[in-house]
Symmetry: C2
Subunit: 350 residues, 2 copies
């Protein structure tokens, strides 16, 4: 962080020296110049069948409170000159530590009654990335994903091996009991009761609903670098070591300064097959679409054509934010380049 601030200061001192003779705004201090660099942040807490009539006022307040706390934390880091990577990790840690979202503390249960957590992170400047799948004792999987990126030569680690790596690098571990929440256990019991009834199938709307809920963050920092991260407990009642899109670079998470940073949430199998996060970036790079147009086309056309649903949040190097979903709602919040805070849960104003 110190190095970043130093770099900005030196850059703008040099700029002021070389441009000072002819620039009309040469009277501005380096600090004011630096403040003109746009920065912005967006988070999500999962897409799904989120209708106002299904959420009590107190629950709505609870969701909004954590979303605001998370997005403000990330924004403060960016405001203070921190990196987009720092902001992404910090925002997601707050969402992981809340029992409200299907990630970290609030993760859903597998069919065996365990919690298996997935996460990934990517920085747009270097296209470095890290991901972990199926960890059971890591308090903040997003922090482990970042450690994989920064402290291993690998991109993706799984299960026991990832936990050994977590011990190796000193990431905080917890007893698996940490991830027990009564509401998620009831969701598992409901799913298993439905499963045992002959009238339902994997594809029934209730079972499908249990697939959703993931958290993510995208950010642009004052140095013009973007980053993205995603964390999840995966699918309620999941079996067979299922890996969804969240820990997979290109599917659930992607970042490249030249195009965009994306974090996805939804029915993971379709996001993997559609390579959804990268597809938005590819459309921007090869078809010259804006972030918003590319996200609209992928989420409202290509994804439903395959039969998939969910949403994404995205940001580009100018600080444009996209929050696009084809489900009734998506928990989401952002603070844009003008400093305007937005917190939304339902289908309005995409």
């Amino acid at each position: 962080m110190k190095k970043s601030i130093l770099f900005i200061c030196i850059s703008f001192l040099m700029y002021a020296c070389t441009e000072g003779n002819n620039a009309s705004d040469a009277t501005e201090s380096p600090q004011i110049q630096a403040e003109k660099q746009p920065f912005a942040i967006a988070i999500h807490g999962g897409a799904g069948t989120i209708y106002k009539e299904n959420i009590s006022d107190s629950m709505e307040l609870a969701y909004k409170t954590v979303l605001e706390q998370s997005v403000r934390k990330g924004y403060k880091i960016l405001e203070d000159g921190g990196t987009s990577l720092d902001a992404v990790e910090a925002c997601i840690r707050i969402l992981e530590d809340s029992p409200l979202f299907n990630a970290g503390k609030g993760a859903v249960f597998t069919s065996n009654g365990t919690n298996e957590l997935d996460a990934s992170i990517m920085e747009g400047k270097t296209k470095n990335a890290g991901g972990v799948a199926g960890v059971t004792t890591v308090k903040n999987p997003i922090t482990l994903a970042r450690a994989v990126m920064e402290q291993s030569e690998h991109v993706m680690l799984a299960r026991e091996g990832a936990e050994d790596f977590a011990k190796h690098v000193g990431v905080t571990l917890v007893d698996p009991e940490h991830f027990y929440t009564e509401s998620r256990m009831k969701a598992l019991e409901r799913a298993q009761q439905r499963e045992n009834s002959l009238e339902t199938s994997f594809y029934d709307p209730y079972a499908k609903e249990d697939k959703f809920g993931t958290v993510g963050c995208v950010a642009l920092d004052k140095e013009g670098n973007i980053a993205a991260g995603t964390s999840t407990g995966g699918m309620n009642n999941k079996r067979w070591g299922r890996i969804g899109d969240s820990p997979i670079i290109g599917a659930g998470t992607y970042a490249n300064n030249n195009t965009c940073a994306i974090s996805a949430t939804g029915w993971g199998e379709y996001f993997i097959r559609g390579v959804i996060a990268y597809d938005i970036a590819a459309m921007m790079e090869y078809s010259n679409l804006s972030l918003h147009s590319a996200a609209q086309r992928v989420i409202h056309k290509k994804l439903p054509e395959m039969g998939g649903d969910g949403g994404i949040i995205g940001i580009d190097q100018k600080g444009n934010i996209a929050m696009v979903f084809n489900t009734p709602g998506m928990f989401r919040a952002s603070i844009d380049t003008t400093g305007t805070l937005s917190i939304k849960l339902y289908g309005e104003d995409q």
Copy 2:
């Protein structure tokens, strides 16, 4: 298979009836018409520092023999009206059963002296896909990947969970001893000796070389459907449950009838970060490039710009085949739409 043949016959009988009055070639039998549908296949056995001077004549013959056996098996399936998916699976099974390639029987060892196998498969017609990561007792991981695609609602399963699924669907299991080969054990010992020496690092050319070796297949069948599959033992001396690109849809494997089918081989971390397999398809879709041009641009420009190396094989719906790599060699073979067999190991005629 029977259904496919029946479908082709009915289709061409209908074609002959409706077009019979005015088509100039209406005198051709449905069978001759069917034979005009292009079909083709390509396989690889890994990219890397493969120079003629490093491979004895007898080893060269051994590699070429298995490559020919594999590609001829797949071609025969296509010739007989089988699906591209059947051909891809059959070709890869032969390569997996050979001790020569780093997949199945010939898989490299992890740092713990175990063998952890990854594979994935995707069909271009439906964009359905399946992948498995870190299985230790599955004789042919490509067959398990196909079972994940066809018999589960998931795309990717890992480790013990994937093995439970293998038992559930009746895929052939073997004792982990099956994957012991002396040459791979020696490679592990060499890697660990190097690792213990202060003079070398993960990035030394010998250690890097051990990363390579993967098998894959792409095919176009007479119904115009393409498919791709990839299988690997991963990286020699790998740790921490490392997952490479091979089991990841978009990175190591991708197929879409509208663009191409791709199987990749190389330094997996770069293939994940570059979303290499899908990037070729995206360039075709959004920039209207040919398969060969897109593959050239990704493998010779984008991948080395990141610092990565390796190669791909690809096929499109017309039967055009691309075999592109930025390493000195790649074990590869193909039978094109004219029925011409090609088997190559070194850097000639890409």
